[in-house]
């Protein structure tokens, strides 16, 4: 700030540049109240008025130290404070006991009447009723008892308005957080409240429709990737064999390995059929579009997208508030119908209603927010940005981003979009309901300019209003009738280039094993993409296609990079994503995801139905996945899995019930092979095809022949052992 005139320049900036002085009253008072709560002893000592600014001429540090009064006065004052505090404690305890009795009785009556309880009763402040928090805070202040600083902040307390109404007589406590119907709009059931009549402030952008053909898009992808190889002097791996490509494509699109029939059917096709269609394009289209695989495709992708939205462990435990089955059902329908992804995003961000089907206002899309609505909607903010925009803002909640310069304001301005909602729960185990409401601002002093407070590391409170990550602001009102912040946010997300980029990046990572950025949901100036031009182009095409997920899948799976062998050669040795940016000069091998492993083993344990579709029971899947994945319970909502190459995974593969079922002599593939009229060697070859999608090589055949010769008397058990060994091999569990 270089002012030529230190006085006039700032005044002119104020007059002409709009840099007005802020009103800090509420923030200072709130900070003082917080300090009072966190430092009761210090404030108790100060109540005596020992330390005061006696003279403006002294240094400010000295002024704050309380010099100039005699020790005797100090002691007298402290004794007085101590006595007063003891008396207040006794009185508080007595009154609290009697009030507790009244509240328990009243609560029991309400429960009997089947009334809705506020979710925060069970969850504390977890579900983000900021108004209730403010009331609690004020209540605690009162309980600390009449200190000077609290009396003097009366003006701020009064700005909370209705919060006083909740206090019980005597000011010694308050009612538990209750359904604040005064603050909310008339509570309509979920889908109705979504149709809020608030005017829209963000205009949808019009994207040009996609003029390019799929072949043109794939060709461009191939060209850009090949340019990267050339620039880095890397020789790509050879093309994958048909069986390799077929196996990985079934894994990526259906979440399971192919059956022997499916592999053979694909291998037996000509490269180009009579209509000139490439056999790989034929298979992709069959998997993503045909009726045969429709349910399986939707089932896998709904589960996978649910993992992204609420985590692998979300809704897997009995005490989880998330109804995973409903969420997956909602996503299943979206993928089965190939609904535009942007409309799904809008519904997830703006969902209202109850999250379970027994409620009249059931809206399964609410489960995304139910999973993330914690105190002050911080997790919802972080999760929404991470999932839909590919940006990890959670660290910016507390401090400036260490490398890219994002400030706390960025996080809290996004957080302000989520403040017009609260959760309610019927009873302890009833469905959770997301309800829209007017947001009164963190200070609770009115919804016309409903602000969010956040605290900087230096203890300074700042305010934030709804502002999207690209700087777009919306009107600051917290009244639903004027601004529906979630609707505006959804439109901003859909308008943003970040949504298609984040989605393309995530899908590219799903199919290729590594995204354009690592991790895929941490994009930004600190983490530039490996192929920025390709990412931008694909994202534009994806958006222009109407956010068509199936077309995006098609583009990626038909690209050259996806079709390369996973073998590391001298020519592509330099392409190591763990050491630098990926070049996609080979298919990056990786362990199957838990879902893929479950579906594959379950399929091998089943006798396949005639219609070809193989869908594992949702309950079985949830039970198994719930065992292998647990939530860490941290701010980032991260999870831990036992499928991490450790002893746990080894034991699970060797002795788990899924493996036992798959290797049972009397079920699934093994049963069919044993009962068949094939020769022992043909049976072994079939088991290789069923597990690895290839026939055994010469060395393997030689070893197998030896086993069969030595175990002629128990050939079925020998086949079972070979089968077990195949399923426990690295080649089986690795997507290659």
């Amino acid at each position: 700030m270089n002012h030529e005139d230190p006085i006039i320049d700032p005044l002119l900036e104020e007059l002409l540049g709009g840099q007005s002085p802020p009103d800090l009253t509420a923030r200072v008072l709130t900070r003082l109240s917080q300090r009072e709560l966190t430092s009761p002893e210090r404030n108790g000592a100060t109540q005596s008025g020992l330390s005061q600014a006696a003279t403006p001429a002294s240094q400010d540090d000295n002024l704050a130290d309380g010099r100039g009064l005699s020790d005797s006065r100090v002691m007298v004052a402290r004794r007085r404070v101590r006595r007063a505090r003891q008396w207040q404690t006794y009185a508080s305890f007595a009154i609290s006991l009697s009030l507790l009795g009244v509240l328990v009785g009243a609560g029991w009556l309400l429960w009997q009447a089947g009334d809705w309880n506020d979710g925060s009763l069970a969850q504390g402040d977890r579900y983000g009723d900021t108004a209730a928090q403010e009331k609690n805070k004020q209540g605690q202040i009162e309980k600390h008892g009449g200190r000077d600083i609290i009396d003097s902040s009366r003006a701020a307390n009064e700005t909370l308005g209705s919060s006083r109404d909740n206090r019980l007589p005597g000011g010694m406590g308050e009612n538990p957080p209750r359904r604040d119907s005064q603050e909310t709009q008339p509570e309509k059931p979920g889908l109705e409240t979504r149709e809020n009549s608030a005017p829209r402030h963000v205009t949808p952008i019009e994207r040009p429709s996609l003029a390019k053909s799929d072949a043109e898009i794939v060709e461009r992808v191939n060209r850009v990737i090949a340019d990267g190889w050339k620039a880095e002097n890397v020789q790509p791996a050879q093309a994958a064999t048909d069986s390799e490509w077929c196996r990985r494509t079934y894994l990526q699109l259906l979440g399971r390995i192919p059956t022997v029939d499916e592999v053979q059917k694909f291998a037996s096709r000509r490269s180009l059929d009579k209509r000139g269609q490439d056999k790989r394009a034929w298979l992709v289209d069959r998997l993503i579009q045909s009726e045969t695989y429709r349910e399986e495709f939707a089932s896998y992708w709904s589960a996978r997208w649910a993992n992204i939205l609420v985590g692998q462990a979300g809704g897997m435990s009995a005490d989880s508030p998330i109804d995973r089955k409903s969420l997956e059902g909602y996503l299943h329908e979206a993928f089965a119908q190939n609904r535009p992804y942007d409309s799904v995003v809008r519904e997830l961000l703006t969902a209202s209603g109850s999250n379970r089907p027994e409620a009249e206002d059931f809206n399964p899309a609410t489960n995304f927010l139910v999973a993330t609505l914690d105190q002050d909607a911080k997790l919802a903010t972080a999760k929404a940005c991470q999932t839909f925009l590919g940006q990890r803002l959670q660290c910016v909640e507390c401090h400036t981003h260490p490398t890219n310069g994002w400030e706390q304001d960025t996080f809290w301005s996004m957080n302000a979009f989520f403040r017009q909602i609260k959760t309610e729960r019927k009873g302890d185990n009833g469905p959770i309901r997301i309800v829209n409401r007017d947001f009164q601002g963190s200070a609770g002093d009115g919804a016309d300019e409903a602000e969010v407070y956040f605290e900087q590391q230096n203890g300074i409170l700042k305010v934030a209003y709804p502002r999207f990550v690209d700087g777009t602001e919306i009107p600051r009102s917290g009244k639903l009738a004027q601004v529906d912040r979630r609707q505006e946010l959804a439109q901003l997300v859909i308008n943003s280039d970040l949504l298609p980029q984040a989605t393309v990046n995530r899908m590219w990572q799903h199919f290729l094993g590594v995204g354009f950025t690592t991790p895929v949901d941490d994009m930004g100036p600190h983490n530039p993409p490996s192929h920025p031009e390709l990412l931008a182009t694909l994202a534009d095409d994806f958006a222009a296609s109407g956010f068509d997920m199936r077309r995006l899948m098609r583009w990626i799976t038909l690209s050259d990079a996806y079709g390369l062998s996973s073998k590391i050669t001298d020519g592509n040795l330099a392409d190591d994503p763990s050491q630098g940016q990926p070049l996609f000069a080979r298919y990056y091998s990786r362990q199957m995801e838990a879902e893929q492993l479950f579906h594959s083993l379950t399929m091998l344990a089943q006798v396949r139905s005639a219609n070809g579709g193989i869908i594992a029971s949702g309950d079985d899947r949830h039970q198994w996945l719930g065992q292998v994945t647990q939530k860490m319970g941290n701010d980032e909502d991260t999870e831990t899995s036992t499928l991490d190459g450790t002893v746990s995974q080894t034991l699970l593969m060797m002795n788990g019930h899924l493996m036992n079922n798959a290797t049972d002599l009397h079920s699934g593939v093994l049963k069919g092979v044993i009962a068949s009229k094939m020769s022992p060697r043909e049976k072994v070859e079939h088991l290789f095809m069923a597990s690895l999608s290839r026939k055994p090589n010469k060395r393997e055949l030689k070893a197998i022949d030896e086993i069969i010769q030595t175990r002629q008397h128990e050939i079925n058990k020998a086949l079972q052992d070979i089968w077990w060994a195949l399923l426990n091999s690295n080649e089986f569990i690795v997507d290659h």
Binding site: I7, L15, P22, D23, V28, R31, G49, S51, A64, N458
Partner: protein
Amino acid sequence: MSESLHPIGQKVDPALLVQTHQVGVWRYLRSLGCDSHEAEDLTQETFLKVLEKPFQEMGEAAARSYLLRVAKHQLIDRRRREGRSIAVENIEQVEEFWNRHASNQHGARSGQDKQRDLIDTLRHCLEGLTARAQTALRMRFEDHCTREQIAEALGIGPHGAKNLMQRAKQQLKQCLDDKQGLDDKQAEADRPSSD
């Protein structure tokens, strides 16, 4: 003797203290070289520092002086941590200006009112400048134009544009001082006689 909102020695309502002095502190910090965000932070820090302990009424002028002093120390501390120093020359003149323009020596309007009026007065003074001077200042502070752009728009050289704006600012400061002087005289005239 300055007039206060509370009897001297009585405990000050923090809300009232903040409301009365926050604009003055903020503007003072801006004069010391803070941008608006930094001034906002430091203003808040100043009040939090002062209100760490109960604050007793000492008269509005004394409270203002005290607050500005604390604010300055907060800024010096911050600059020291940053390894910088306050880059404002003639800091005494800055303080003298703010003491004069926010003071309430004669029991007229409160410092809060004066701060509120200051921008209105500045607007009035701005309207009294020549059209070219007004254009130059508006381009500079409203449209954030460079000196070269202003010079080009006015058909003068960059040096001429600089001189034009410097003179205009001196006129504005003089206008503010004159207005303040008139106010003080008026307040003195309105003051009831002690006889």
